[in-house]
Symmetry: C2
Subunit: 412 residues, 2 copies
């Protein structure tokens, strides 16, 4: 059961002028599942992306990087079931063939198409089935296809993930709508499993390239379920330019408001992944302050968020909070600058309960307060490192029997 | 159920001349459990140790470092139930008081005593109960107390861990006997949760200081259960000097044989920890070759061994081997030198089955061969990085429902 993530949101997803989406059941890996999505972008749209840092990055990620460098993107094709990762040269060819097939259908060049895959690694992509499914996607293309697409990109997700806002920016209405998927193999490094956000604002390519990185760092790059950075992580930001709001230079008026709105949508999509993390029963925010750098803060956040001992204690609602100290003490493994961490200066709170200071248990701490703070479905862990003014956040979920069950059964 | 680790070994543990051990039920945290161990060393014994790199290291670890620096160690006192970590200045005082009490009993100075604790973090050590239990430990001191001590240092361990050999070194019989504990919060960094190995050989202090590090690197520093480096890891090597085998300089004859025998005992103790890892149903060795350095090889080994996705696939005997590629692709997070890893040169075997080469699935690979290779209780994963001649091994276990159960219930 996802934590505090209750669709339906379908009624609240605003179409983005210049974007049409269509889905179908292509039978990529299993029958009777929507597993293929086509997204068509109007001419003049600008697109930017960030991708996984995994060295075994998937074939479609490699093709995306090439095609984004080439320029004018007009379509995205997304399949689930097979990740087309760990597939070598044949995988690369299959991914390119899928782009060629989309190009033929929509009268584009192949390098105007971005391909995405998600699913099982190391198995070949049945590209002929993908290609056979494309005409049905094309027939289904519609401006309000976002909610269908949110469903068609799911794998072990239990709910479709989508977010949408309309904001007034300097007197112009800007629409921002996005979808994401991911529940396991989640520790995005530049981007999440799959995230797509579109706006109708006019954004210049340099501004969009910069924005996609900043947004990823404030959203998808703060989420972890199991610490396993995927081979297929991709986050794509699209600006169709169909509205009158224009952001073409760094000093464009209202840029900060626009950016905040995009970050808001991306954060919702990113947090949705942790809320729907495999087996999740709790959503946990780890807010670290008093660091010398943002990297330090996030290193501590991830050390806590990746500790199986901390995560199982949250599942059990057991205030076995020494495990959090143990994780903080290991964070230098994520960022060597923390080797000289003075633990006597570290403070830890669970919600508003001060748990630890001066290297030990806080004098005011009572076990029953800790127990009460562990019970809610949403918990904030606050850590002050006492050595600087930088801060950072990480979002994660707990670790339950069902995580093991889901991942022991995934392919069966 | 521990994997291929079937005591009783009691009959096979050789006493080490100069070492006596006694245990009792001190009621540190729970009644009716042997939870306090006293080890007495003959005058002239030499002792060396390596300890956790966790910044929140436990009070006894801090005291051990001070006392080892001071010199002549004659006793060790070990409690379970409470880790005395995350306990600040009062914890440090409690640990020192335990040394003072042992010193009074055995007519020693307090800095001749090494203290060790293991159990729950962030709770105060009931040092008065520990001190009250010491006379019973003293009465119980005996040369063949190793097996009792192996039991008395257990926490979530399901079996006592001990190993013992007698080897002929240059015509002299040398005895090496050791015990260890640990099942969760295991990713030793310099040492395991607790490991104690004694020999009756004469070993000079400089040679012993060097040996303890080399042995730890070849044994305890190759084990991981959950990637959580403990606050209390300690590995202690004792040489009582009661036999005629002498190793006082680097060029001492038969040093290599002696070292190999000590490593053999320590490896048995280290592997026992993974075999008895919390919830373990399988023992997994990850052997990485073709690396540019040993650090690179171990970084890849740990990336695989820490991936919850890989570990749950082993639990399910599901040859979902793309997860191993995903983990290898992330290993640069453990060692940045792997950022330029060429995945096209990486080969992966499961037992003798070639799974992956040329960046994809091996042409010869058949799913049924992979499935068969996943079934045994002991599995070797081999990885060749194809970029150098260094190698390294990591031992771990799978990730089962019972890991979650044990860690959700640990304090209750």
């Amino acid at each position: 059961m996802p934590v505090n993530l209750n669709p339906p949101v379908a009624a609240n997803l605003y179409p983005v002028a210049g974007v049409r989406l269509g889905v179908t059941e292509a039978g990529i890996r299993k029958a009777n599942r929507r597993d293929l999505t086509l997204i068509e972008l109007a001419a003049g749209s600008r697109v930017a992306g960030v991708f996984t840092q995994n060295r075994f990055c998937a074939a479609p990620v490699q093709v995306c990087r090439q095609h984004l460098a080439a320029g004018e993107i007009r379509a995205l094709v997304i399949n689930t079931g097979i990740a087309n990762a760990g597939t070598g040269e044949p995988g690369l060819q299959a991914s390119k063939q899928s782009c060629q097939a989309v190009a033929r259908l929509l009268d584009l060049r192949a390098d105007q198409v971005l391909p995405f895959s998600t699913g099982v690694i190391l198995e070949p992509l049945p590209v002929e089935r993908l290609i056979a499914g494309l005409p049905a996607c094309q027939s289904a293309l519609k401006a309000d296809g976002w909610y269908d697409a949110a469903h068609a990109i799911m794998t072990t997700d239990t709910v479709a993930k989508a977010a949408s806002v309309q904001v007034d920016v300097g007197g112009q209405t800007v629409t921002i709508t996005g979808i994401s998927k991911g529940a396991g193999m989640i520790k995005p490094n530049m981007a999440t499993m799959l995230g797509f956000v579109a706006t109708d604002a006019v954004v210049s390519q340099p501004m969009l390239d910069r924005l996609v990185k900043e947004v990823a760092d404030e959203s998808f790059n703060c989420v972890t379920v199991d610490g396993d950075t995927s081979t297929n992580d991709s986050f794509i930001l699209i600006a169709t330019g169909k509205s009158r709001a224009r952001f073409e230079t760094v000093d464009a008026p209202h840029w900060a408001e626009f950016k905040a709105a995009v970050i808001g949508v991306a954060r919702h999509l990113a947090q949705a992944i942790a809320r729907d993390g495999e087996g999740a029963t709790k959503f946990i925010e780890i807010a670290v302050s008093g660091a010398r750098s943002k990297d330090e803060a996030k290193a501590v956040g991830y050390a806590i968020a990746h500790s199986p001992l901390v995560k199982t204690a949250f599942f059990a609602s057991d205030p076995n909070l020494g495990r959090i100290l143990g994780a903080i003490g290991n964070a230098w493994g994520n960022d060597p600058s923390l080797r000289d961490l003075d633990v006597a200066k570290v403070k830890v709170w669970l919600a508003d309960v001060l748990v630890s200071e001066n290297g030990g248990r806080a004098e005011s701490y009572k076990e029953e307060d800790g127990a009460a703070a562990m019970k809610p479905a949403e918990i904030v862990v606050k850590v002050d490192l006492g050595r600087g003014s930088a801060q950072g956040k990480v979002w994660t979920c707990d670790f339950s029997y069902d995580y093991v069950k889901i991942n022991a059964d995934y392919r069966s």
